[in-house]
Amino acid sequence: MAIVEHTDSTGLSGDDGVRRRDFINIAAVSFAGVGAVAVVLPLIDQMNPSADVLALASTEVDLSAIQPGQAIKTTFRSQPLFVRQLTEKEIAEADKVDASTLRDPQTLEERTVDGKKQWLVTMGVCTHLGCVPLGAGEGENKGEYGGYFCPCHGSSYDTAARIRKGPAPKNLEVPKFSFTSDTAILVG
């Protein structure tokens, strides 16, 4: 510790003009700041999904009753899930399109399981603002591309549930799923 020679009323200044009090001030405020952040973190984090919400069971879906051209609406993680068996014509329509021209380029193969191209499994959540698109139920509007149509802001999806028209930025999301038998899938 250098000997303080000049007359400083506080008697705390070093030669470089930095007072010992400055160090104490910075240290105290920094310590309080770290403490404040540590307190704020749980205050913010409590708003994230709780353990019971996160304890998400996977969903098993029985496909045996779904005829070609039909679709069912079920739930996965408390959101709607569409399971659809495409007809030959619908598959042909989806394959006809050059994927690279699409807004969210994907082929039907990339969106389905190998060898089971007719089974289209997607979330029933429009990628625009989260409405449930129409088209899974009997007689619902399928939009001009024959897949799904979101009534909220007019997004149209094709037979591979790819976005073709309207404000939605992405194709309907395909969740992770696998076939447990020829007529059943496990989603999640």
Binding site: L129, G130, C131
Partner: protein, 430 residues
């Protein structure tokens, strides 16, 4: 602060003297909304809407606290407790309808208050802070109204919550975690309902606090007036009480008549029938629309249908919607004309009314389905909205030749009634 000629608070009752020495709250009220606040003598009825907005907030707080006594903030019972309030609770129907329609009336008077400010240049120096705080109140009102609409847990509640929180999902990278954080899940659910209830109860009191700041900031320069000419002497003002308490009292009577007419004869006129169906995550209503007071902003949100370079249309719409309000925070610096009142600004006057029509059209489009020709019209109307503030207004401020201003408020008042005697000469304030 006040003008030097403001009336002084001099309690005569010994109890009031005793209180004044210990806690001068009556003095504060006297100087804020009593005879101690000198106000320009020429205010017209458009100056009623600030007080009316305060009245509407009081109605909302009283009916809201009562609604909370009968409400269960749980997704299993929320819908039925609201119906129970309507059918079984004594006068519950009155409380609920007053609260639901009260929100609409709150927005009606606030929109008139905002357009009053826009026309008469109330946002200009030295009242910028009053304007900025007013916008903060407006944002808080929108958040409160949105969360309140979710609480009955009807179809529009649920899907409104999903669409509006979905807006945050449009933000790149952090969007989806933010949306999940806001909702406390992957879709609106019990956690969302509970937190919305908690915040819906809290925010009105925050609004009340910001209103105090809004009035405080107003009282430093004093109220503006229809001529936009500042107060120059005692002859330009009258005490707030009894002159404007009486005028505001009359306005409050008219307001309450209109409110009761809707409340008792058409309580569901502004509501959506879909909200009498309990929330169903598997079925989207055919036509999701927010409450009418959000329609102009909703129209701007939906106006963007094409990606622009690398920015997706969805994000553009969200940015534009938020920008349409944030833009107003810059208004005091976009309109550089030294003349406040639109009365003396011939060019501004015309464009002001075009803006009013534009916002009304946006409102109509926001409630219309998302199909042509409405989408195209929304694009034009939204573009005009931004052009008004960012291009037209700064240009007008630059090139417009304003009409001659009256020498003082008193001169304008006397000229209106055909008197031009010597009393019109302004006595400058010291």
């Amino acid at each position: 602060m006040s003008f030097p000629w403001a009336e002084q608070y001099t309690p005569k009752n010994p109890v009031m003297v005793w209180i004044d020495e210990k806690l001068p709250l009556p003095r504060l009220a006297y100087n804020a909304v009593g005879a101690g606040y000198p106000v320009p003598r020429n205010l017209n009825y458009f100056w009623n809407f600030g007080v009316l907005a305060g009245l509407a907030l009081m109605i909302q707080i009283v009916t809201g606290v009562i609604m909370a006594m009968h409400y269960g903030a749980n997704d299993l019972v929320a819908f039925s407790t609201v119906e129970q309030t309507m059918r079984d609770v004594n006068a519950g129907w009155l409380m609920r309808y007053a609260h639901a329609n009260g929100a609409s009336f709150f927005f009606i008077v606030v929109y008139l208050h905002i357009f009053r400010g826009l026309y008469f240049g109330s946002y200009k120096a030295p009242r910028e802070m009053v304007w900025l705080l007013g916008l903060v109140i407006f944002l808080l009102m929108m958040a409160t109204a949105f969360m309140g609409y979710v609480l009955p847990w009807g179809q529009m509640s649920y899907w409104g919550a999903k669409v509006i929180t979905g807006l945050f999902g449009a933000i790149p990278v952090v969007g989806e975690p933010i949306q999940t954080w806001l909702l406390g899940g992957f879709a609106p659910g019990n956690a969302s309902l509970n937190r919305f209830f908690s915040l819906h109860f809290l925010l009105p009191f925050v609004i009340a606090g910001v209103i105090i700041l809004h009035i405080w900031a107003l009282h430093i320069p004093g109220s503006s007036n229809p001529t936009g000419v500042e107060v120059k002497g005692p002859q330009d003002t009258v005490p707030f009480h009894p002159y404007y308490t009486a005028k505001d009292g009359f306005g409050a009577g008219v307001f309450l008549i209109a409110f009761c007419a809707l409340l008792f004869f058409a309580p569901n006129f502004l509501g959506h029938p879909d909200n009498y169906i309990e929330a169903n995550p598997l079925s989207t209503p055919a036509h999701i629309v927010p409450e009418w007071y959000f329609w102009p902003f909703y129209a701007i949100l939906r106006a963007f249908t094409v990606d622009f370079f690398f920015v997706p249309a969805k994000l553009l719409g969200v940015l534009a919607m938020f920008a349409s309000i944030l833009l107003l925070f810059f208004l005091p610096w976009l309109d550089t004309s030294p003349v406040r009142s639109g009365k003396y600004r011939p060019t501004f006057n015309k464009f002001f009314w075009i803006l009013v029509i534009d916002v009304l059209i946006l409102g109509w489009l926001g409630g219309a389905p998302a199909e042509e020709p409405f989408v195209m019209m929304s694009q034009v109307a939204a573009a005009y909205y931004f052009a008004h503030f960012l291009i037209i207004l700064p240009l007008i401020s630059r090139f417009e030749k304003p009409l001659p201003l009256p020498g003082s408020i008193t001169e304008a008042v006397l000229a209106k009634y055909g008197k031009t005697d010597g009393a019109t000469v302004a006595v400058p304030a010291e």
